[in-house]
């Protein structure tokens, strides 16, 4: 790699937020025509680094070189002018506008939607990413939205594409297609920077890998020279990693079934029974059809599904948050629920930890709230669940993502509910927090709680579940807990 | 005549009722830049200052809660004379007057009185009646109009008198009455006028304060339409269309009251000022005087004489006769 200047090079990048150093002399070198993976724990500085590349943040020190020339990327607009685009985890799409309008958005030329439509069709055909230019974004599936993001980037003559956890929301089939496309994009001379958590995926697609730890670049090398465990060592900082963590990192190997078998044989009481349940959405579209599911005490039932298959509705029916349109749902009086979007659905960021704990059951509470007792209970809960924070009166906003999730699980498990419904429990969490959360779920199961877990990460479902049910096009069925079978079932509706 | 007032050393021997320095305050319900009701009162206040050397103060109130407050604070500060410029001040003045017996409270358009409360009534309807006589004679279409700001008693009375005046010379005359809904929206005033003009009104009597400017403008833009101004002398505002103004000489009225107070001869009562005291008068616009039928001018002169002699009063709407 001596001859050509690297496509993009970050040298000695430092970024400080107040006293917190997010990036400290970090570096990244990306060559033309490669898929370069960027790894690191939560808070290692990946997002900050990508924001700097995309012009959303400015470094306090350090230099950026594009094709060997020193560059100063002032804004996203400026980044795009240099051929850099970024597909963020939360899509930056305007859902009231059409696909074509979203693609045209932010352009500099005169607005010509006919030309944009034609251009989209062209790009779509060339890249193998199908999309309808006239569809409204709010009607698109998540996968289609991601395709749109990429098309959007391509339409701007993007040569450096940053993808932030792109497969997190995709079905296995869609994820495979995306990885294939990435490969082809790179082969044709494009450059991809892939920010990811799933090591197996990274190893399957990346040419080279850079690992950040605590704001510093700790590893850069060819993918072919690394293994999952060496990467994990680099991310976590070596030998202090516990065996539990290792198990999670190699998720496929971390099934840990023994405990599940023993408990499910011991307790067979039916806790949660759905009979002929159907759910229609506001537009009258059937989201769930004739669902019959039974969950017993002391088992973890994993739910696998592609985005929008009806699992959201299923989980909400099971959690008692949605009343089925048809059929009957027999639920215990107390069902814990840890939804996927914590910040939106589970916690109140500006409220204190105590208030967030008090939120459980707030709808039924009467009279005066016994705050001092609740404060004590909260402190106990924090100790028990290892929620690290200054005090029970601290605002939840000041907690890390992992501690927030532990708090949510702790709250939902307080009072030992008979059932617990959990949705993507570790999305956005780092390895340590992931391990803690998994341990908590297993502990709940072992204490006799009926646990239902859905995750967009199929490996996580398989790692946790005693039994697996699959939701596809509103139909629900149980399948063997085997990766291939489940993956197939997710894509095909029940062939009864 | 004004010489005696200009010396501040009012060390007259007269009793404690006449304090050393006259202090006079005025409350108006609207801005004093309206060239009408409020502007006239403000001019009166300034005249009291200039002629009598009084210390004066003015406040524009927005809401009834401020009536009490300002009356009270002027009372506390020892003001001699406080004008509340409008019927709406009566209730508050009546309440507060009891608490500050050393201050004389005067409400214009007021009808109530006590030991230190005075109602200052204007026979504005006299002037409106005279304007009506001219309108009735001068209208070519047989339709006249009246536009008010809000429907309040003095306005309604003036409209009634205007109509009766017109009827007295032209029994078949038809009158259209409209209200703008406020006193500021000159654009809406203009539209009200245009709507009346479209219904054939060719002489319009306005009593809409600042919004009345829009009525003048409507007349300027329409052929053959004439207008009457009110409160102040508004003949100069649009000399080509204003036939005349029904003037309340507020400065004169205010000065009258203030003089009596300074002289120590003041007695609280209901003071009715009209044509006889020359406080209310119809001032014709000399430029357009020639367009008014001569008999109408003669009639106006003779009726004015009757008013002055007190042998005739302009009619007021029957409903106002019902007293609480």
């Amino acid at each position: 790699m001596s001859a050509p200047a690297p496509r993009l090079a970050l040298v000695g990048i430092r970024r400080q937020y107040g006293p917190v150093i997010a990036l400290d002399a970090a570096s990244l070198t990306v060559q033309r025509g490669e898929v370069h993976a960027l790894l690191g724990e939560n808070g290692a500085g990946k997002s900050t680094m990508m924001k700097i590349v995309f012009g959303l943040e400015q470094p306090d020190a350090g230099t950026i070189h594009i094709d060997g020339d020193s560059a100063h990327i002032r804004s996203p607009r400026h980044a795009m002018r240099q051929g850099i685009s970024m597909v963020q985890q939360h899509f930056a799409l305007v859902d009231a506008l059409t696909v074509a309008e979203n693609v045209a958005l932010g352009g500099t030329a005169r607005l010509d939607l006919d030309a944009t439509r034609a251009h989209i069709r062209e790009l779509s055909a060339a890249s193998g990413l199908p999309i309808d230019p006239d569809a409204r974004v709010r009607d698109l599936t998540v996968g289609a939205q991601q395709r749109l993001e990429i098309i959007k980037a391509l339409s701007r003559d993007t040569t450096i594409l940053i993808l932030d956890e792109p497969t997190a929301v995709l079905a296995p089939q869609e994820a495979r297609e995306l990885l294939t496309w990435m490969r082809r994009f790179a082969t044709n001379g494009g450059t991809v920077i892939l920010v990811a958590h799933k090591l197996r995926e990274v190893l399957s697609v990346a040419d080279r890998i850079t690992v950040l730890r605590k704001g510093r670049t700790v590893f850069t090398g060819h993918a072919r020279d690394t293994t999952e465990s060496s990467l994990a060592d680099a991310m976590l900082g070596g030998p202090d990693m516990s065996s539990a963590d290792a198990r999670v990192i190699g998720a496929t190997r971390a099934h840990s079934r023994q405990a599940g078998h023993s408990s499910s044989s011991a307790k067979t009481r039916d806790v949660l029974v759905l009979t002929g349940v159907g759910v229609d959405d506001a537009q009258g579209v059937q989201r769930l059809r004739d669902v019959n599911v039974t969950v017993r005490a002391g088992e973890i039932v994993g739910v696998a599904a592609v985005e929008g298959a009806g699992q959201q509705e299923l989980l909400r029916v099971m959690a008692g948050r949605t009343t089925p349109t048809r059929g009957t749902a027999t639920l215990p009086s107390d069902v814990g629920f840890a939804p996927e979007d914590r910040h939106r659905d589970a916690i109140v960021l500006d409220a204190t930890i105590t208030e967030n704990v008090a939120l459980k059951g707030a709808g039924r509470r009467h009279g005066i709230i016994p705050w001092s007792a609740l404060r004590d209970a909260t402190r106990t809960l924090m100790r028990l669940r290892d929620v690290r924070a200054g005090d029970a009166q601290a605002a939840v906003r000041t907690l890390s993502g992992g501690n927030q999730q532990k708090l949510v699980l702790g709250r939902e498990l307080s009072g030992s509910p008979e059932a617990l419904v959990v949705e993507s429990p570790t999305r956005g969490l780092d390895i340590r927090a992931t391990a803690d959360v998994h341990a908590a779920l297993r502990a709940a199961r072992d204490q006799g709680t009926a646990v239902i877990v859905y995750s967009s990460d199929l490996d996580e479902v398989l790692a946790l579940a005693d039994r697996v049910i699959v939701v596809a096009e509103g139909h629900v069925r149980e399948v063997a807990a085997d990766r291939d079978t489940v993956g197939r079932a997710m894509l095909a509706p029940a062939d009864r | 005549m004004a010489a005696c007032g200009s010396t501040k050393s009012a060390a007259n021997d007269s009793a404690a009722a006449a304090p050393a320095t006259l202090r006079v305050a005025l409350l108006t319900p609207g801005p004093v830049s309206d060239q009408g009701w409020n502007g006239g009162a403000f001019a009166g206040l300034n005249m009291i200052h200039d002629s009598l050397g009084a210390r004066v103060s003015h406040v524009q109130t927005k809401t009834p809660a401020e009536f009490d407050e300002n009356f009270r604070l002027y009372g506390e500060q020892g003001y001699t004379l406080v004008f509340g410029h409008g019927f709406e001040y009566q209730d508050a003045a009546e309440r507060i007057a009891q608490e500050f017996p050393r201050t004389q409270y005067v409400t214009t358009s007021g009808t109530r009185t006590s030991t230190n409360l005075t109602g200052l009534e204007f026979a504005f309807e006299d002037g409106a009646y005279l304007a009506g006589i001219i309108a009735g004679a001068a209208t070519k279409t047989g339709t006249i109009g009246a536009i008010g700001g809000q429907e309040i008693p003095p306005v309604r009375r003036s409209f009634y008198a205007f109509e009766q005046g017109a009827r007295s010379v032209n029994p078949s005359v038809k009158m259209i009455t409209s209200y703008v809904g406020n006193w500021d929206d000159a654009s809406a005033g203009k539209e009200q006028a245009l709507a009346q003009i479209a219904r054939k009104a060719d002489i319009i009597f306005q009593n809409a304060d600042a919004a009345g400017l829009g009525i003048f403008q409507a007349a300027r833009e329409s052929k053959g339409v004439r207008v009457f101004g009110t409160n102040g002398n508004q003949n100069a505002v649009a000399p080509e269309v204003v036939l005349g103004s029904v003037v309340i000489d507020l400065p004169r009225a205010f000065l009258l009251v203030a003089r009596e107070i300074q002289a120590g001869t003041f007695k609280p009562r209901v003071i009715s000022l009209g044509t006889a005291s020359n406080v209310v008068r119809l001032e014709l616009n000399p430029a357009l005087r020639g367009t008014i039928p001569a008999p109408a001018l003669l009639t106006v002169d003779s009726v004015t004489k009757l008013f002055v002699a007190g042998t005739f009063k302009a009619p007021i709407p029957p409903i106002a006769a019902i007293k609480p």
């Binding site: 937020y17 589970a346 039924r364 890390s400 | 524009q60 809401t63 429907e151």
Partner: protein, 363 residues
């Protein structure tokens, strides 16, 4: 600590900035600066009498309306209809006072107040229903309901509620027995002032310590989480909060007619409902602090009148002063937030995550 410091420092900064602005305006328009500012102070705090009869009486409707705004905003409702709710409350109170037997004494007066509160709540319920049932943005519906309320008041004082002589566009005077008693004889300080303070403290207690108050706060902070994690019926909570907000404003209107004006007038409110937005903002939506905020604005209004009286500064400039105070308040809040933003990073948790979250979450 920092929060408390900011609650004092922000308004102080705003106050100083606004005074400078006012002084500049006075110089530009040619009014005597020192004399005007002295008048402003004397008119607001110059004597016990102006405090009791001016500032505190002015502050009362602002406090009621400010509490109305605060409780709505706390529940996540942008109720800018306090103005209309106040007017409707005043109208209803007057109507009930007209038919209420005077023999009931203070109980009768309380019933009159109750009527005002109920009517204000009912008026807010219209906007609440439009929001909860039909998804009409309350910012827009309440602006319209304000205009409608104003016109209804105009109709009432010329129609069913007009005084018996049917001459003046106002209601008859409310009977002595139904008026709120004076707290200090010889001043205008009436029972309503105490009532407003009680409402503020009661509301603060309600929000902090009761289950419905907690539901209201959680709904306002994050409706989705309140519904999902708390099992809270957020529509119901929002509806009730909206009605409660209207009831407070309506009560303010009722207190104004029974404690101050003693009759219904069309121009009863010079925009209390709008100034109250600034009151609530200054109090950071905290009901107890709203007492102080209402006094600040009450003193400003009383002081502004004094500027007219004693320094002949025209009424228009008074509006400019209030506007400046609000704008400076917003500016100083921003400055304060900047300063605090730097400091807050010193404290616990993982501020790093926090910063990332703040910069990545849309809207």
């Amino acid at each position: 600590m920092m929060r408390i410091a900011r609650m004092v420092l922000d308004p102080l900064l705003a106050g100083i900035l606004s005074l400078l602005m006012l002084a500049a305006l006075l110089v530009v328009s040619g009014y005597p600066v020192a004399e005007s500012l002295t008048a402003l102070w004397r008119g607001a705090f110059g004597s016990w009498s102006v405090i009791a009869s001016g500032t505190l009486v002015r502050a009362t409707p602002l406090l009621f309306a400010g509490l109305a705004i605060a409780v709505a905003f706390r529940a996540g409702i942008l109720n800018i209809g306090a103005e209309g709710q106040l007017l409707i409350g005043a109208a209803a109170a007057t109507a009930v006072a007209m038919i209420m037997p005077t023999s009931l004494g203070l109980a009768g007066a309380l019933l009159v107040l109750l009527a005002g509160g109920l009517a204000g709540g009912a008026w807010a319920a219209v906007a609440a229903l439009l929001r909860v049932r039909f998804g009409v943005l309350e910012v827009i519906s309440t602006i319209m309901l304000n205009v409608i309320a104003l016109n209804i008041t105009g109709l009432l004082v010329r129609g069913p509620l007009q005084e018996p002589t049917r001459i003046f566009p106002q209601s008859a005077l409310i009977d002595q027995a139904l008026r709120l008693p004076r707290l200090i004889p010889g001043t205008r300080l009436h029972l309503g002032v105490a009532l407003a303070v009680c409402c503020a403290l009661g509301l603060a207690w309600f929000l902090r310590y009761t289950a419905p108050g907690f539901r209201l706060r959680m709904t306002g902070s994050n409706a989705a989480a309140a519904a999902s994690a708390g099992g809270i019926d957020v529509r119901r909570v929002m509806f009730s909060a909206f009605v409660m907000s209207g009831a407070l404003a309506g009560l303010g209107g009722a207190v104004e007619v029974t404690g101050v004006t003693y009759a219904l007038y069309e121009n009863l409110s010079p925009g209390y409902g709008y100034t109250a937005i600034a009151v609530a903002l200054l109090a950071r939506l905290n009901p107890a602090s709203a007492i102080g905020a209402a006094v600040v604005f009450g003193s400003l209004e009383a002081g502004a009148s004094a500027m007219q009286r004693d320094a002949q500064v025209p009424a228009g400039l008074v509006g400019v002063v209030e506007a400046c105070v609000i704008l400076m308040l917003l500016a100083s809040e921003w400055i304060g937030a900047k300063v605090q933003g730097m400091r807050s990073l010193n404290r616990g948790g993982t501020p790093h995550d926090q910063v990332l979250e703040a910069s990545s979450s849309p809207a």
